[in-house]
Symmetry: C2
Subunit: 369 residues, 2 copies
C-alpha cells in the first residue's frame, strides 16, 4: 500500500474512527485502525465489535492495499507531524513507513486480513435528521441512562418512531427523560434500543450543523448512521423496552412556574452542603408564591427563597439534587412548569406541548419543622 | 464580625490566598482562610507554615472581628453566589452566615485566635522587579528543580543578587538552568535559596504585567513578595547552594546553530517511540551541515534530518529527550546555539550574552552504525 494524504485530512479521519477503537481488549487487532486503499478510495475503519466506524479520506492512491496500525501510536504520530503531505507505505510484511517532510517513522503494522469488517446493514428502513437535532436529543436524554448494566436495557435509549414523530426515552429507575421530535416525513412504526455508548460517541463526531443531515438506517439488530464521509454501525440492545407511557400522568395537585436559571443556580449552591456520597435530599417548601429551598448537614445549612407562580395546593417535597440539576441543565426554556401530585409521587417537568417530559422520583425526608 | 463585599472582590481574594492553604494537614486550622476585619481594612490570610499569603479586600466593615473558615468550602460558596453584594457575619461562637440576595448559608467557623499569623519580616533588603520578569524567570528555570527532596537544596532555586544583576539557578543532577536579569539599580551581594513550591505558587498569583512591579524583601530566613494588595511570605531553604560556576565552561569542540522550533518539534515526534519509563536516548548525529536525529525501540523507529550551521567537529551524542524538550520550550529565540565538547561531556545551550545557560548531561548509547 502506498498513499499520500494531507496531514489535516489524516488527522480528521483518525479522530473520527478513534471513537470506535477498543481501549481494553485482549485482541490487539481491535486496538488498531485499518487503512484500506482500493482503486478509488482510502478508507479508515475501527471496530470494537459493538460499535464500528468507517470514514473516507482524501488522498492519492499510488498502490492499493491495506494495513492495520496501532490506533494510539498512529494517531499520535499523525498529530505530531508537520502540516504537510504525508506518505504512508506498507510492505507485504506490514512494515509501515510514515514520511512527512524530513521526518520518517517506521512501525510494525498487522495484516488487514485479520481486521473485523463492519457488519453489513440492509438499508431498507431509513429516517433523516439534522445533525443538530440528533446531537441535541442525545444531550437532552443521555444523562439518565443507567451506568452499570445490571439491567442492560437501561444502558440504552429507546428510539421510538411513529408516524411523523421520533420519541427518545432513557431511564435509570429514579427518573425518566423523554424528548419528542417532529420528523420531516412520515415513517412506519419502529422501536429500537440504542446503546448509550454508541450515542455518546456519535454525538462527539457529529459537527452538529443545522443544515447537515444524518441518515439513520435500522434493522432488527443494527443501527447505521451515515453522514458526510462517515458511516457508524452499532449493535442494538435486544428486548422490549419498559412501558413508559403507563408511568406518566397529566394529573397534578400543584403546578409551579419558575425561572429555570434561578432554580438551577439555587440547587447548585445547595449541593455545597452535601458531602460526596451523602444522599441528603434538598427540601422544597412550596408555599403560595414562594419556593423555599432548604438543606442542612454536618457541613452547615443553606436556605433560599425563589419567587414562583403557583397553581393548586402548597406542598413540601424532597429530592436528590443531582437528578433535578441534570434535567434542568438540558432544558433551554427560560421559564419552566413543574407538576407535583404529593410528596411520595414523582414530579414532572414538561412543556405545554410535551416535547420534553422529565419525570423525577422524590425522596423521603425527616420534617423537622 | 460583619462585613459587606462584592462577590467578585471576594472571589479574587480567595483565589489568591488559596495558594497557601495546606491541602494535607493534621491541623484543621491550616486548611482555613482567616478573615480579619479591623477598623480600616479587611484582610484574608492563609498559611501552611512554609508559605503564607495575605491580601486586602475592598468592602464595608460594619463590625470588627475575625473568623477562620474552611478554605475549600468558603471558596466554593463564594464561587457559586450570584454576582452581587455579600454579607458575611460571624458571632462570638464563630457561627458564620453568608448572605447574598435570597441565598443564605450558615457554616461553623473556627476562632481566628488559633490562626498562625504570618512571620514578621524585616524590610531591610529590597529589590524591585516587574511582575512580567519575575513570572518569566520562574517559568524559564522552575522545570529543572528536583521533585523529591532527598537533597532539599535541589528543590529550590538560587536567587543570587550581585551588583546590578539577579541570577536565578536551578539544577537536579542531570541539568542546570541559569537565567540572568539586569536590575534597575545596584544592590549589595545576596544569595538565598527559595523553595520551588513558593515560586510555583507566586507565579500563579502574579498578573504578569510589564508595568506592574513586585517588591521582594530578603532576610536570612524569609523572602517576602509585595505587590498590589498582596503579601507573600515564604521560608528560605538553609545552606550554601552548589558552586555552579565551576561546572560551566566556554570551551567547545562543536557549535551548532539550529532553528529552535524545528529541533523541538523533531524531538517531540521522536518521543513517540519511547514508552513511559523507558530511558531510551535520542541520538544526534551532527555531520557537516545536517543534524540527523535517530531513535529506535520495540515500538518502531524514527529518524529526521535538520539543516544546521556547524562550527567545529562532527559529533554523535545521545540525550534524554525530555531534558532537551524542557529547555527548548522556555527559550524564546528563533535560532539557538548549542555547544558540545565530546559525547561524554555536557552540552550548553546559551545565547551570546549568556543571559541564559542550559547545561544538559548526555547519556551513553550503543552505537549500532
Amino acid at each position: 500500500m502506498k498513499i499520500i494524504c494531507k496531514k489535516a485530512d489524516l488527522q480528521k479521519s483518525v479522530n473520527i474512527v478513534m471513537k470506535a477503537v477498543s481501549s481494553k481488549t485482549t485482541m490487539p487487532i481491535l486496538g488498531c485502525i485499518l487503512i484500506h486503499a482500493t482503486a478509488d478510495e482510502i478508507k479508515f475503519t475501527a471496530n470494537d465489535m459493538e460499535l464500528g466506524i468507517e470514514t473516507k479520506t482524501e488522498g492519492v492512491i499510488q498502490e492499493k492495499g491495506m494495513v492495520a496500525l496501532d490506533a494510539k501510536l498512529f494517531s499520535e504520530i499523525i498529530r505530531k507531524l508537520p502540516d504537510n503531505d504525508v506518505l504512508i507505505t506498507s510492505d507485504s510484511n506490514n512494515n509501515t513507513q510514515i514520511v512527512c517532510e524530513k521526518a520518517k517513522f517506521t512501525i510494525m503494522g498487522q495484516t488487514g486480513e485479520d481486521f473485523p469488517f463492519l457488519p453489513f446493514v440492509e438499508k431498507d428502513y431509513q429516517i433523516t435528521l439534522s445533525q443538530f437535532t440528533l446531537k441535541e436529543v442525545i444531550r437532552q436524554t443521555i444523562f439518565s441512562i443507567a451506568i452499570n448494566d445490571s439491567n442492560k436495557m437501561m444502558t440504552g435509549e429507546l428510539f421510538d418512531i411513529n408516524d411523523g414523530e421520533l420519541k427518545v426515552v432513557s431511564l435509570d429507575g429514579h427518573r425518566i427523560s423523554i424528548r419528542k421530535i417532529e420528523l420531516k416525513s412520515s415513517y412506519p412504526a419502529k422501536k429500537v434500543i440504542v446503546p448509550g455508548k454508541t450515542l455518546n460517541e456519535i454525538s462527539k463526531i457529529l459537527t452538529g450543523g443545522v443544515d447537515d443531515n444524518v441518515d439513520i438506517y435500522f434493522t432488527d439488530n443494527h443501527i447505521l448512521f451515515e453522514f458526510e464521509d462517515t458511516v457508524v454501525v452499532s449493535r442494538l440492545i435486544e428486548g422490549n423496552y419498559f412501558r413508559v407511557e403507563q408511568m406518566l400522568t397529566n394529573d397534578y395537585e400543584t403546578k409551579v412556574t419558575i425561572n429555570k436559571r434561578e432554580f438551577l443556580d439555587c440547587i447548585d449552591r445547595a449541593t455545597l452542603m452535601v458531602k460526596e456520597g451523602d444522599k441528603r435530599p434538598i427540601i422544597l417548601n412550596i408555599n403560595d408564591d414562594v419556593l423555599e429551598l432548604k438543606i442542612s448537614s454536618q457541613i452547615g445549612s443553606m436556605d433560599e427563597m425563589i419567587d414562583i407562580h403557583l397553581e393548586g395546593k402548597n406542598i413540601k417535597i424532597g429530592f436528590n439534587p443531582k437528578l433535578l440539576i441534570d434535567a434542568l441543565r438540558v432544558i433551554d426554556d427560560e421559564m419552566i412548569d413543574i407538576y407535583y401530585m404529593n410528596p411520595k409521587a414523582p414530579c414532572f417537568i414538561r412543556d405545554e406541548a410535551q416535547t420534553y417530559i422529565y419525570l423525577i422520583l422524590p425522596v423521603n425526608f425527616v420534617d423537622n419543622d
